[in-house]
Each structure stands twice: as C-alpha cells, then as structure tokens.
C-alpha cells in the first residue's frame, strides 16, 4: 500500500513512524518544537510526542551533536536537525571526532546510533550560507554513513534505515525537493530502503550516468533527450554516498563502458572524484572513454538566480556532457 506525498511529508512520516515504534527515538534542534521546524518537518510533533521527545535547543550546533552522542550512549536514537545543512560546519568536531570515532576507540564496546538531518542544496535562492552541499566532508570521514535521497519513497525509507542503523548517519535532505518532489511512499511501517544500495532509475546500454538527490530529475530529462538521439543512458541514483553501491556501479560500467557523474557539489574532491577513481582502479579495462564529471564549478553558491543558474548543473548541461561522451 502506498500513498502520494511530498518529499518533506515523507521525511515527517518516517520520523513519526519511528518515534511511534521506538520510544528511544527523539528529535532535537532549533525551532523543531512548537514551531515545527524551519521547514515544517516536525509540525505536530510536540502535540503527539511532547516537548521532551521534540526538543527545542539553544543555538548551539556543536552541543546538539554532543548531546546526541551522549544520549545514544544510553541507548537512545536521537535525530538531530541542523536548521540548514550549512550550519553543520559549526558542529564539525563533534561529528568527525566524537561521533565517528567513538566505536573504534571504545574497542567496539559502544556505538553511536544518531542521525543528523542536514537540509542542503541550492536553486532556492539561499546564497552562500543556505545552499551548501556538504556531503564530501563526511564521506571522507571513516565511521560515518551518508545518504541523500531523491524521491519521497527513498526520503522515507532511508530515514527509517538511518534511524535504525547503529552508526552515525548524515542524512542530506535536499531543500529544492521538499515540496517539488511528490511520489508514492509505502505505508508499511517495516519497509525501509537499505543503506548502501543504489537504484537504477532508467536502463540503457550506452552510457552510465551516476547521480543523486536533486540531480536525478535533470539527469532523467537529459537521458530522455539523448534517447531521442539514439543514445540509451543507464541512470543510477546512488541514494547512499557512504557506503556507495560499488556492485551496481560496476555492473552498469561493464555494460556501457562510458561514465558520466553529475552532482551539485563542487568538482574538486566532490564524490565524483571518488567514483571516478574507484571505477578506473577496478574497471579500467571496461572503459571506452574517460570517466567525466559534470558538477558545480569550484566556487560558492551565489544568491542572484542569474549567477546561481550559471553554476548549477541542469538537464541541458547534462545532455551536452552526455553527447560529448557518446561521441568520444
């Protein structure tokens, strides 16, 4: 049984269901309480779960994560909201040093089942400090997991999986998709989307297109474009960024021999770098062309739409890159 809802509603549903299922799950963050969160994700939560399980915090991102780690040591499963993913940099030490290393330094005697929700991404006129894509910093840090859903279905399933996971998970939710992405979502409490498994959104034998989050839709449009020109693109939505689904990627590469990676994060050391490097390392002989990246340029996210659009990858730019790759 499924229901058509938005990406944002899917996030809310996942939280609600997990909080109903497991009394150890609670949420904390700035304005998540009576206000219901800057984007309304936790609307109605105080009424249903009380302020103790939907806790307004002071403006203290570092403490929010530290508190989550502490609670997790006592068996809780806190879901911490960063009001904007950009502010995660204020909690950086608690994430990369405290949360990511705890299990290792404890000799495996404890784990840190926390989720950090980070509303991320551009095309919402957010400017430099309300548009960032910060996944790469965390993908680079062993001990964390990172997910980035593109559909309501995955938004729900991955958040449920993240909450149930015994490791710290950074959950990147894309602001552009909040109300724009609509789709069917399972109403079965137990249906989750496994972390580490990619989804093929479109099959094709000619080019592998690896992408995720708000780039999936333009990637599919570009693929449709190319289909008209006789080029069939395999569009893989990574969904999980750490760990990413090597098996699915390799299966596609073995079939196509050509790879384009599209992401909204900047190019240098964006996840595309790792994907390219791994493919080259392990599937070199299957490649008929260079693995190519289409990304945000190495700069910040400007406010004015004219500027932001210049930077953002879109269907047109992806189609152009696909064409170049097909012609290689």
């Amino acid at each position: 049984m499924t229901k058509e809802i938005t990406y944002l509603e899917a996030i809310r549903e996942a939280l609600q269901e997990e909080m109903r299922r497991d009394p150890k799950v609670f949420v904390l963050g700035e304005d998540v309480g009576p206000y219901g969160g800057a984007f309304g994700v936790t609307q109605g939560f105080v009424e249903e779960f009380g302020e103790r399980r939907c806790l307004d915090t002071p403006i203290s991102e570092s403490a929010i994560i530290g508190i989550s780690v502490g609670a997790s040591l006592r068996g809780y499963r806190p879901v911490a909201e960063m009001q904007f993913g950009d502010f995660i940099s204020c909690a950086f030490d608690q994430i990369v040093n405290q949360a990511a290393t705890l299990r290792y330094r404890y000799g495996g005697r404890a784990s840190v089942p926390i989720v950090v929700r980070a509303p991320c991404g551009g095309r919402v006129s957010g400017g430099l400090y309300h548009s960032q894509n910060t996944e790469a910093w965390f993908i680079h840090r062993p001990g964390l997991k990172v997910v980035a859903p593109s559909t309501p279905y995955d938004a729900k399933g991955l958040l449920k999986a993240a909450i149930r996971d015994d490791n710290p998970v950074i959950y990147m939710e894309h602001k552009y998709l909040y109300r724009r992405a609509r789709g069917p979502v399972p109403q079965d409490d137990e249906e989750i989307v496994e972390i580490g498994v990619a989804a093929t959104r479109r099959e094709g034998d000619d080019i592998t297109l690896l992408t995720y989050a708000a780039m999936v839709q333009p990637a599919l449009e570009a693929a449709d474009e190319l289909a008209k020109e006789g080029v069939e693109v395999d569009v893989i939505d990574l969904r999980s960024l750490l760990p990413f689904d090597k098996a699915a990627i390799f299966r596609s590469v073995e079939k196509t021999g050509r790879v384009l990676i599209a992401h909204e994060d900047v190019k240098t050391l964006g996840i595309g770098a790792e994907l390219s490097a791994v493919i080259v390392e392990e599937r070199f002989d299957w490649l008929d062309a260079p693995v190519v990246r289409l990304t945000y340029p190495d700069t910040h996210c400007p406010f004015a739409p004219a500027l932001e659009n210049f930077n953002l990858p879109d269907a047109g730019k992806i189609a152009a890159a696909l064409r170049r790759l097909a012609a290689y």
Binding site: E30, D31, G33, P34, Y35, A38, D56, T57, P58, I59, S60, E61, S62, F84, D86, F87, S89, C90, V124, S125, G126, G127, L128, Y129, H130, P297, D298, T299, H300, P302, F303, A304, P305, A306, L307, E308, N309, F310, N311
Partner: protein, 327 residues
Amino acid sequence: MPSIKRTKFRLTNDQLLEILYWLKLIRAFDERLSVLVRQGKVRSGVYTGLGQEAIVVGTCYGLRREDYICPLHRDLGTFLMKGVEPGVMMAQMFAKATGLSKGRDSALHSGVPELGIFGNTSMLGSNLPVAAGIGLTFRMEQVDHVVIAYFGEGASNTGDFHEALNFAGVQRLPIVFICENNLYAYSVPFEKSMAIEDVAVRAQSYGFDGVAINGNDVLAVYQATQGAIRRARTGEGPTLLECKTYRWHGHSEHDKAFYRTDEELAMWRSRDPIPTFTTYLQHMNVLEPARLEEIDARINTTIDEAVTFAENSPEPEPTDAITDLYA
C-alpha cells in the same frame, strides 16, 4: 534653543534631529523591504529590525569612519549609518550587480573595509571572533578606535560568542558588545534557551562589565554606548550592553510568528522608539511640525531613489558567479 542635557554626552539640536532622521530612515528602509518581499521583487532572506531601530541608531551615531561595526542580520541600518548609500544597500537586497556583493549574496553578507563595516556569514556568533581580531589590531597600533559588535540573545548561546568575549576580556580589547535581546531567537523564547534574566550577566565570565538597558530608548542606548566607547578608547577594555527590545515582524518576512501573543506584540508596539523620541523632541521644542514633514519627505525620496537605483541596476553577469574567489 539649548542643547539637550539628558545625557552626559551633549547633543545639539541638529544632532538630535539627525538621530530622528536615522531612526525614521531605517524604519522606512525595512518597511519598504517588507513590501518588496511581498511583491516578489526581493527574494527571501529579509529579516527586518522593525521596532529595534533605537539600538542601531543609538550605537552607531557618532562613530568614526575608522571605527568598525560587526552587525547582525537585523542591522542593515548600521550599513547606512556607516556610510553605505541606500541605493547600494537596496541593490544588495535586490542581488543586483551594483550591490555590495555584486549579487552574490544579500543583506549583511558583504562588507566595506574602508568604511569599517564587516559583513558576516550566516553563522550566528561567528562575527564576534572577527570583531575581536579587529579590536586586537587597534590595540596593536595603539590607536583609539573601537569596534561595535552586535549579536542576538539567541546567538549568545553559540561557542563563538564565548570564545570571542573571553579573548576580548583577557586582552582588554576596545570593543562594545551589543546584545539585541528581542526575547526570541526565531521561534524560541528567551527563557527556553537560557536560564538567566539578563544576557548582561555573561560579561562577568569574561571580566568586564555588562549592563542591561532599555533598547527602545535611543538616548539611553546612545548614552550607554558612548560611555562604553569612551572606556574602550582609553584602554579600559570591552563592555557588554544588553538592549532589551522586541521585533515586530516575524523572524523573517515569511514567518507568521504564531509563537507569540497579540497582547505581547501590542505591548511592545506601544513602546515604539520613534514616537517616544519624536514626542520628546516636540516637548523639548526641538522639532517643529514643518521640520518633521521635511524629514519624512526627504526619507521618502531617499527610499524611492534607492529602490529606483536598485531596480534599474543591471543583473550580475552570469560569469561573475566564478570570479573574485582568489586574490
């Protein structure tokens, strides 16, 4: 007419009228912005300081060009008082090429070194260590300039607040810390984010004075700031002034502010800093009706011209999205 003696810091009648002008200009600027957002001419990210103008004016009035300000998001008025043209500031809000950041960001997210204006990121509290760094250079050079560093009561819960004020205290830097305590941090009321009555007490942790004052009384703010500035200029170190106030609009123009009562808002609207000050000036015979009209007319023109300038300004060149990254 004699000059007003209410404060130790004498103000001439012209100065008093200038203060009124600034109060009203800043009010008008924010009010216009509020309309422009609704018209879709200015995109998101508008955090008006309506109701809080006395703090901006009382703290900035009389600053030197060399003095530095490190404003918070509600303090666009400080940019104007420190010398940015209203048109340029409006263009910044329109994200036009003529704005301070050339369209790269809006509001306070840009600065002007020659005018002593630091423009912060969005990260609350993160302007305060920068203020400390600027203050440190004043002390190194043994010049008597000061830094005015602003933050909300909510931002006083960030780690950066603590690290910055502690450093300023131990180094006795020439900084006046202005807390704009408007009782809310977005939706969260003061008492839900800290267990104290006054943010001012926090100064005790850093070895300098903290005072809570009426932030809606422009002369009280001016007097307290001037006292703190004098101490700062003479090497006596920082002061924390907590200005109690209230913001009339929501956190941003998109926030309906359901988290507060109409009564509370009405009560605070009755403490509007502008009529209070206007009446005062009238009682002191400083302000004739004709003069008031003249001020209002001038402000109207200024704001209209600013909007026209912004509207007529060119959009940024798309390729400017990738320039100015490195020196």
